[in-house]
Amino acid sequence: MTDIVLDGVTRTFRGRDSEVTALDGVDLRIEPGELAVIVGPSGSGKSTLLDLLAGLDFPTSGQIRIGGEPIHGPGLNRGVVFQQYALLPWRTAQANVELGLEANSASKAQRRERAREHLDLVGIADFAGHYPHQLSGGMRQRVAIARSLAFDPDVLLMDEPFGALDAQTRERLQEQLLDIWQRTGKTVVFITHDIDEAVYLGRTVTVLTSRPGRVRETVEVDIAERTSREDTLLRPEFAEYRHRIWSLLHAAPEVIGVG
């Protein structure tokens, strides 16, 4: 069980003639085993935030601690799922899942075994021998999720993972993600710009502002019974949360004195 704490995280990029602030003083606390959704308009630094969490980039100021430890770079305590799958086209589904396991010292037999297990977990064990181009978008993203789970990270970081999928596939994968989250108890950080997705998946939804990205508010989503997707979507609380987050996203941008 691993918590994530962001403490005054700021990231600025040097542009051609001015500095661009992607994230500005972001304070955020994500509890162990929580499914935290971060939602924001484009330009809110969502992807920058994910890069920082992944250790692919470092804050200009402020600190991020995962399980109490500051981040020094990428590591196998975090698994990243990208929107565009990022599968190696010359490797089969099985071999793609094994990729993450090649970084630690698992033996070949162990790797094969664990990859099988996780392809099974995401429900595509029958396609283990297929290459990415032979799989649909939904299946590719399942392979990518299996790859990120196979090395058993404490935290799963997901950057708009279902954004490129058609509506039906997206819904099925959302349900599957909830199921996997409940079964594995991992801390999940899920980035999206889709409000329905945010409310359906998130136990907390953090709304970011755009340019620069700041935390506007973190909403605790408390929908009593989430028996089935249909029930959840029809509950009056769902509509209320949906509306609240919509309002937060569409509120007039703060005046920040930039001409």
Partner: protein
């Protein structure tokens, strides 16, 4: 309307389709050979300067039978393969390194473009002056001609690897060497092969020209000698052999490339 559905195609008709495709792809060649045969026969061109295809074919078989053809082919092949292999061993590793380090790429690519655009044949006299008329100058020239297409394509192959794949591998905690071996190298294979195929074509082109200057064996020598001795059909037989050699080289490389990128089919 179920009765209007087309029945599954029987196996025999697949064979027919394949035969049809083979016929289509060879029709232009057959027409070319027919024109070559007829033009000298009906007197449009003097058959002393352009013997009909059948005479050239007969001469080709004679040269093959008495061993002359194989002797010259072997000499050419040895030069082409030696030069090509040396170029491969230099250009692929060098290209990988230059492509991987941005500064090296920015510093060297302009110079490499200058060399690439310098026709290798224009440098033939330079090579002869510096290295003499022997094998060294011939093979060096082939190496020179082959290095640039392989080098430049390898550099651009490494530079254009999908950055997301690299990012994803880095997120798994792989260091530079592992990212290079697991992602960059395999991702570069198709573009590197484009360069290798261009180099193969260049090697044959330069080979023939090099062999026309001071060689004692080789297809270029055969063509040149046949022309001096007015053995016109032999000259054409040599030219045909070079075409066949070029095609064979390209086919062999395509086969290797297909083996290395089976995942794409």
């Amino acid at each position: 309307m179920a009765d209007t559905l087309t029945p599954p195609r029987p196996a025999a008709s697949y064979a027919a389709v394949r035969a049809g495709r083979a016929a289509r792809s060879s029709v232009a060649i057959l027409v070319f050979l027919a024109v070559w045969e007829l033009v000298p026969r009906i007197g449009l061109v003097d058959s002393i300067f352009l013997p009909p295809a059948s005479r050239v074919a007969a001469t080709w078989f004679e040269l093959a039978a008495d061993g002359q053809l194989w002797e010259n082919l072997a000499a050419s092949l040895a030069r082409a393969l030696t030069g090509f292999t040396i170029a491969l061993l230099i250009a692929v590793p060098l290209g990988l390194v230059i492509g991987w380090y941005r500064t090296a790429d920015e510093l060297l690519t302009p110079l490499l473009e200058v060399f690439r655009n310098t026709a290798a044949l224009a440098l033939l006299p330079v090579f002869v002056l510096l290295l003499g008329l022997g094998e060294t100058s011939k093979i060096s020239l082939i190496v020179f001609a082959c290095v640039w297409p392989i080098l430049l394509n390898t550099i651009s192959a490494v530079r254009t690897v999908d950055p997301l794949l690299i990012k994803s591998a880095r997120s798994l905690g792989f260091g530079s060497a592992a990212v290079f071996g697991k992602v960059v190298l395999p991702a570069s294979v198709p573009a590197v092969f484009t360069g290798i195929r261009l180099a193969a074509a260049a090697s044959i082109l330069v080979l023939v020209a090099a062999e026309m200057v001071g060689a004692k064996a080789g297809l270029g020598y055969l063509i040149n000698a046949a022309q001096y001795n007015f053995e016109v059909p032999q000259m054409y037989a040599g030219i045909v052999t070079i075409s066949l050699l070029g095609i064979a080289f390209n086919h062999a490389l395509t086969a290797v490339e297909r083996r290395l990128s089976r995942w794409r089919s």
